[in-house]
């Protein structure tokens, strides 16, 4: 079973965990990506996330299917928040249940790695000296 979403609301992590619990599972592994204040000594004030929602939700579902197929996992839930997020807020949360802990760790790690690599979501960092898009450092006006 896969439960996935892109949301503008605060992520209810406990609800996510409850949604993957299973009487035949002895492990629930969770991951939360949170907004960090300091990056390489530079202070972030807040972040703005943007997404291509239609595609991002499809990809979350695909990743969820991959996790259930590749690892011995039973259920997975993934939510990514977009819009403005302040320091310490949860940007992404993943919960994976499995009969045994090893599979739940592996499945959870695979899911966040795939999200960070492929899912069309972008963050703009607002710092003390302006704003810039992360991951798009090559996007500068040439000449």
């Amino acid at each position: 079973m896969i439960n996935f979403a892109i949301t503008h609301e605060v992520i209810d992590v406990q609800h996510l965990i409850e949604s993957v619990k299973d009487r035949n599972c002895g492990a629930v592994c969770t991951f939360m990506g949170t907004v960090r204040e300091l990056t390489d000594g530079k202070k972030t004030l807040y972040l703005e996330y943007e997404t291509y929602q239609e595609m991002a939700e499809k990809m979350l579902e695909e990743i969820g299917n991959e996790v259930l197929e590749k690892f011995q996992c039973s259920k997975i839930a993934m939510v990514h928040r977009v819009g403005r997020l302040d320091i310490e807020e949860v940007a992404v949360a993943i919960a994976v249940s499995a009969p045994h802990r090893k599979a739940s760790f592996e499945g959870c790690r695979y899911a966040i790695d795939r999200i960070k690599e492929f899912v069309p979501i972008w963050k703009k960092e607002y710092g003390e000296d302006g704003a810039n898009w992360v991951g798009c450092n090559c996007l500068r006006k040439e000449g």
Binding site: T51, Y52, M55, W122, C136
Partner: protein, 82 residues
């Protein structure tokens, strides 16, 4: 018959060239042909455009993929979710 193809743009590229760019196309166009057209339209953002992956109907595609005017096309800059 001339048709319009809409291309969705995101993140910094969306801010710079607009969130939805339209180009006219007479027949079909390949992904690499589309990239060439966009670079001609926005030469100052050549590097940015080349760093994007292309999605057609919400799936990443290869450069030889053929695009039709009713496809949903998107320029996907390097992602930074999580």
């Amino acid at each position: 018959m001339e048709r319009k193809l809409k291309i969705l743009c995101f993140a910094e590229l969306g801010e710079k060239i607009g969130k939805c760019v339209e180009i006219s196309m007479e027949t079909e166009i390949t992904v690499s042909g589309l990239i060439e057209r966009l670079i001609k339209m926005y030469p100052e953002y050549q590097h940015s455009i080349q760093s994007c992956m292309i999605a057609v109907n919400q799936k990443y595609v290869k450069v030889d993929t053929v695009i039709r005017s009713d496809d949903q096309v998107a320029l996907i800059p390097p992602v930074s979710g999580g």
